[in-house]
Each structure stands twice: as structure tokens, then as C-alpha cells.
Symmetry: C2
Subunit: 445 residues, 2 copies
């Protein structure tokens, strides 16, 4: 190496993860399984561009996205072109693009529209360990015109929970609530600033009962009302038994009744299928103000290791695409934050890497003179559905075997080295080698 | 709708295509098949971020990318942060990210490293009909340290051609050449400005023999030499018979000999498997200067409809990652331009749309009182591997059937409407309805 060989030494870019092949294959398998589950519930796939018009993003988001949006500029922008086109930015989630897509294609879609979307989103965050600036989201939503049946909430929750169950991850529990229970309860108590109270209760996990009490007391809320709120937030049940517990708190309001009915319906739909993997937790709020009914949050069952960490969730919103279309489009949606989940388990060494390549069988090249037969053997096996490599050059058999071992290829195939020899196959796991016919061999034979 | 309901009316963004669900399902099926083929040849998948450091892109590309790169800026950039971090830009292809990845992970990879990558690339082009600014590329490359066996060229070409053959598209032909034949031939003729001659021959399809002659004559090249060049470019063969045709032109040079040997080896590997779907075409150049040996280009066989349009291709390069690492890394790679291909066939109405949703079976909800049984039926069928929706509300059966028809759902399942009734299933294609058991029913029964 001489001084002339100046290279631009590449390094990882903070917040933009990428994996080695043996981990990527796991991520890819997870994406496949999530897709399979979402399709099993009838969700169709769509893919929207990575970008939206900046004005569309701001219209939907209300402009409060300080520092979060990555805007595109051309490296060598032509001053003549400047301002002629709408500014573009990378989407920061998949909900706004989906709302825009539904509005734009309103007449071409069949409602209720059930779609899933497995794509990366982008946030222009400052670099910080564990914070992703590019990350996979696996979103499902059901959107309908004017009104959306409550069964959709249950179906969506079932699809989401089933997706987690399809992954090689520790057991999870889906926690469910209904925002009408919270807001109806606060109204029933006569608490005027429902937003403050809701937001404060949302922090219960972080600041504890004392923290909540301090804030609500300071806001002038009487201590018996605060006690009632904390009582509500403490209610847990695996079935509709939670209704009796809420009633016992002695608060009543029509919105509370509605919320209790809705949540009872949803848990009654889910409990037969999922048992204790679904849990009514009336302390679940999920910050986003636009949720208006069902809210769901997925957590690991093992709270010792993972605490109350949310690994996904969603809820119901009254009007999805009001920024884009004069149609009432209620929806229920949820997101499985794949990159965050994968990165978290990777950090804890809880991801078992896969193979370094998909090859099932390495066909040995005995010598250059036998290339035609070896290539034909590889083609025969490939046509039968196996993933096959023919070793790439005439080399010592030892080297060919070493390549298979380094790449975690499970079988090595030996075509005849002489005309009267049979084919043989070696199972590198067991070390066994035996005669085999490329036209009929099976993995378990 | 009142004046208050101001909405941001969304419209398509030029160059950023997206499809309706019934077309996206076709694109997704194509991506699956391409992946399947690439894996059957032992290529592993990687995915790199959508962005690279601007300096990395420029280091690899040599800085001649006027107007092509989309740079990211934060919408509300904080002046304090400015300049602290490297500037980021969207990748314009998958070759530079792969080279960067290989350099960065050099010690963790097993060589020859065979990877495929199915991702979108981005080009900051001016808006223009038919020009994509975001597009899928399906790339395969084989990279080795120091030297790369020629068999890799044949393997890569086989994998690429097999990928096209796995799609529902008109028949294609892979055209093959070797750059050493062209450059060796020019050297043998004593033509000094090989670059001009090569670039001019590359335009033969567009400007014709007369155009090529005019340019080369103006550059002072004698007419017999131009005739020889045009003779070379006109050679076609489905096997190594092309060698005799080249020899007949009476030019000799060691580099020409090398190129002929290499191309003969490659076509000899491919012809037994692909027959007339592979074609030696000594007029194929493929503009990019970095190709140094094998070049391949895929075209439709039906040149009446599609002319000589290239729908993908690639070739061999001597040193892939010299911008990033002081290691000689020769490679051979190719790209299937999926979005361009898909968009082209869509424009010609040659894509048959798929179903609007993946649902196999719509389970009818007979009435609210029978919800539990209907939901259990849906779960039973789903657990057996079918994609199933339970109709989302208690509605007239006519409406439930209409939903299935609008969504192209092939089967409608009727759970018992009364306790003593059997389940029935209706095939919407044939109109036949018959009793069935959710635990055992099969599509063909």
C-alpha cells in the first residue's frame, strides 16, 4: 500500500442500522412471518414512496414536527428549477402516507380498506445511542367510510398479536384499554381539564402514584378524585370482569358506559383465542391525542427483564384523513416497530444468527475436466428446489469443504470423480457421507 | 362540505410511483420470485440504509454526479448542530452501498461474497414522463479478494436470466460480450483512441453504421478498420462459433485472445441450460467504463414490440471498492431494474392485475347472536393456513356477498344459521355451493 492509495474509510452512520448477512436473514424471516400473519387476516399490501410532499406531511401532522423531518435537496440544485416543484421529505411514519394514499385513491379502493405496509420510516433526530433514524415499521390499519364496526378493533388486535407470536421472541402480552373509559370516567368525576389528567395518568409507569398525585393536586383536583383515577388505572383483567371493578368505583357517565361496552366486546372476542396473552389494563393511555376508542399496547410478559417497555401498539381514531379529503374516515391501526424490537433483542444477545448464506448444497468441482457433469448435477438439484452452489474453481477438495463450513452450508455433494463412481453427499452436521442420486435425493434420506 | 373543510388535496409526485393493491400484489410476487431465484444460486440477502455519507458517494462515483444525488437536510436544522455530522444523501444505486458494505465488513464476510439486494434507489432527476426518481433495483454481485474465477461470471448470468424467466413477462434474451474482445480488437487494429471507438460502437443501435462511420472517419480512422469494427459488432452466435467468425476478420492481439477464451467459456457454461435464450452479441458494450471483461444485457426477444431496449444487465469490474479499502476486490454484478420493467409493461397493459386482497375465504356473520360460532369458524380456517376474513358487521347476506365480490374473494363460507344446519361454502367463480367442514375443507374439494 502506497501513499497514493487514499481511501475513504467507511464507518457506520449513527441511527441507520444494517446487519451482517447472518442477522439480516433473521430479520427477513421475521418480515416474511409478519406478512404471512397480516395476509391471513385479509390485509392487502401497499407500498408508498419513501417521500411525501413537505406540505402534505405538515398538513397531516399539524406542523409540530420540529427537527424530525428529513427534507430532500439536490446536491447540485439548479437555480432555474428552484421553487418550481413541491419540496419533498422522507416520511416519518406510515400513517400519514396511508391516509394520503386512501384519500388519493378513494374511488379505487374497497372499504373497509384493510392494508399492511412493511417499510422504513425516517426521523431527523440528533444522533444518540439506541435511537434509530431509519427503522422498519410494520403497520396494519382498517379504514372505513363514516363508521367503522367495533369488530375491526378486535380483528386488528388479533392480527397484531398473532404477528408477535409468529416471531422468535420472548412471550408478549397485549394490553387493552378504551379512551372513552378514561375520558368518560374523568367527566363523571367532574374533572374539567381532562387533557392534563389523561396526560398525567399516561406517565404513571414513569412517575408513580405519588408523581401523578402531586401534579393533579397542584392542578386543584381533589384527593378523592385522584384516588379514584389511580383506582381506575390499577384495574387489570383477562376478561370482561373489569366492568364490575370499574362500577365499584361509583363513577358514572354515558361516555364511560360506551367505553366499557366497547372494551368488553373487544376482550370477549380476543380472550377465547389468546387467553392470558390479552390483558385489560385501564392504565394504558398511549400518548397520541388522536386515539378516541380502543387503545392497545404490546409488552413482553417478562417484566423483570424488559420492564413495561412498549414494543408496539395502536388504537382507534375518529377521522384518519381529514387533512386530505372531505370524507369521514374512521380507522383502527397499529404498528409493530420491527427495527426497534430487533435491535433491542440483538443488544441483549437474544437473536440467534442464521446461516451466512441460503445455500443448502455445495456441489464439489472434482477437476476442471469434470466441470460439465458437476454443473449438470448442480442444475438438477437446483431445479428440484434446493439452493445450490457449484464450487467456483478447480481447487483442492479440502479447500472446497472449508468454504462450505465457513459459509454454514449443510451438505456437500460429490459428483463422480471417475466415470464408474456414484454420486455421494456429505452431511456436514453429522459428518456422514453416503451415495445419492441428484434426481431423487431428499434432505432426510 | 363547507369552506372550513380545507384539505391538502394529494396528487402523485412525478417519478415516485406507487400502485393500487391489485398491482402491488403482482410486484410483490415478482420480488418474491426474484429472491427465490437468487437464493437458489446461493446469494445471501443484505439491506443497506437508504442513505450514505455524501463524501462516500462522491468518493466512489468520482464526483461526476451533477444533479443526481438527493441530499438530506433537517426541516428545522439547528445551527448549533450544523457541520458537526457528515452530510447524508440517498443512494443512487446499490453498487456503491455494496462496495462500502464489503469494505466496512471485510473481516466478517466469507469470500467469494455473493449477495443480492432488493431495494429502491433514488435519483434527483428533473421530473419527466417515464423517468423514475425512486425505483426498485434487484442487484446480484459476486466479489472476491485478488482474483475472481470466470465461473462466477457464468453463475451470475445464469442467476440473472433465471430471475427474468421466473416473471410473467414476454420471453427475454441475454446478450453477452467481453470487453477484452472489443479493446483487444481495437488494439490489434492499431486504433489509438480506444475509448472514442468503444463509445461510438456503443451507439451503433442508435446512430447506425453510417453514424459510427462518420464519427470514426472524422477521428482519422481508416475505412477498412471501421469496416472491421462494424464486422465485429455484427457477430452473433448462440455458442462458441463466434470465435471462428472473429478470427475470420484477420485481427490478432493477446487481449483479444483472452476475451475470446473468456466469452467462449461463459457461453459454453450457459448454452446447455438456456439454449437460444443466451446470445453472443459482439455489439454489446454497456457504456459504463468500469466494465473490464464479461458484459451482459437482457432484452426482450420480441424486438418488434420492444426494439433493442435494455431491461437489465451488468458485467465484470476489476476493482470494486478501491474507493473504500486497500484491497483488490474484483467482482461481477448485474441489476434487474424492476420498477422500470414493471412500469413499462404496465404502460403497455401487459400486467394482469392480481386480487384486491389476499383473502381466500370470507366467513359470513349470520346474525349478531351467532358471532361466537362464526368467529370460531374463521379461526379454524385461518389456523389451517387459509387467509380469512370474518365479515365485519351484522348485515344482509346480499351485502356480505357483494363485499366478497368487490374484493375478489374466491370463497364465501356460511356457518350454520340455525343449530341443526351444516356449514356451507360457496365458490364465487363457479357459483356452486355445498356443505363443508371447516376442519377438513380443501380448496379443490
Amino acid at each position: 500500500m502506497t501513499a497514493e492509495n487514499r481511501v475513504y474509510k467507511p464507518k457506520a452512520i449513527s441511527g441507520f442500522p444494517e446487519w451482517l448477512p447472518e442477522y439480516r436473514v433473521v430479520e427477513l424471516a421475521w418480515l416474511d412471518r409478519i406478512r404471512r400473519v397480516f395476509e391471513s387476516y385479509g390485509f392487502c399490501n401497499i407500498e408508498t414512496p419513501a417521500v411525501e410532499e413537505v406540505d402534505a406531511l405538515l398538513a397531516a401532522k399539524g406542523g409540530d414536527t420540529q427537527n424530525e423531518i428529513y427534507v430532500l435537496e439536490r446536491l447540485y440544485a439548479d437555480p432555474v428549477d428552484e421553487g418550481k416543484e413541491a419540496r419533498l421529505a422522507l416520511h416519518f411514519d406510515l400513517t400519514v402516507p396511508m391516509a394520503r394514499y386512501v384519500a388519493q385513491n378513494f374511488n379505487a379502493l374497497v372499504f373497509p380498506f384493510k392494508r399492511y405496509q412493511l417499510q422504513k420510516s425516517y426521523r431527523g433526530e440528533r444522533p444518540q445511542k439506541g435511537r434509530y433514524r431509519e427503522f422498519y415499521q410494520c403497520d396494519i390499519d382498517i379504514v372505513n367510510v363514516d363508521a367503522l364496526p367495533l369488530q375491526c378493533d378486535a380483528d386488528l388486535a388479533a392480527a397484531l398479536l398473532s404477528a408477535y407470536k409468529a416471531l422468535d421472541i420472548p412471550p408478549v402480552v397485549m394490553q387493552l384499554n378504551n379512551r372513552k373509559i378514561v375520558t368518560g370516567f374523568l367527566k363523571g368525576l367532574g374533572i374539567e381539564d381532562a387533557t392534563l389528567a389523561t396526560r398525567t395518568l399516561d406517565k404513571l409507569d414513569k412517575i408513580g402514584a405519588k408523581g401523578v398525585t402531586d401534579i393533579l393536586s397542584a392542578a386543584g383536583i381533589a384527593s378523592d378524585k385522584i384516588t379514584a383515577c389511580l383506582g381506575l388505572a390499577a384495574i387489570r383483567a383477562h376478561d370482561s370482569a373489569f366492568v364490575v371493578q370499574v362500577r365499584a368505583l361509583g363513577v358514572s357517565h354515558p361516555e364511560l358506559d360506551e367505553g366499557l361496552d366497547e372494551l368488553a366486546f373487544v376482550i370477549d372476542q380476543l380472550a377465547p383465542q389468546f387467553g392470558t396473552q390479552v390483558l385489560v389494563n385501564l392504565g394504558i393511555i398511549r400518548g397520541l391525542d388522536y386515539y378516541t376508542g380502543t387503545v392497545m399496547e404490546v409488552r413482553f410478559a417478562d417484566t423483570k427483564t424488559f420492564a413495561d417497555l412498549s414494543i408496539g401498539g395502536g388504537g382507534r381514531y375518529e377521522n384518519l384523513a381529514s387533512a386530505f379529503i372531505n370524507q369521514k374516515l374512521p380507522g383502527v391501526g397499529a404498528s409493530l416497530g420491527l427495527t426497534r424490537l430487533f435491535g433491542l433483542l440483538l443488544d441483549k444477545n437474544m437473536i440467534t444468527p442464521g446461516r451466512k448464506c441460503p445455500t443448502d448444497i455445495l456441489v464439489v468441482l472434482p477437476e476442471e475436466a469434470r466441470r460439465t457433469e458437476a454443473a449438470a448435477t448442480a442444475n438438477t438439484l437446483r431445479a428440484r428446489g434446493f439452493n445450490v452452489e457449484l464450487y467456483h474453481r478447480d481447487a483442492k477438495i479440502k479447500n472446497q469443504l472449508a468454504y462450505a463450513e465457513k459459509k454454514n452450508i449443510p451438505f456437500v455433494w460429490f459428483p463422480p470423480f471417475k466415470d464408474d463412481q456414484p454420486h455421494e453427499v456429505k452431511d456436514l452436521t453429522s459428518g456422514q457421507q453416503s451415495p445419492a442420486d441428484p434426481a431423487t435425493w431428499e434432505r432426510n434420506s
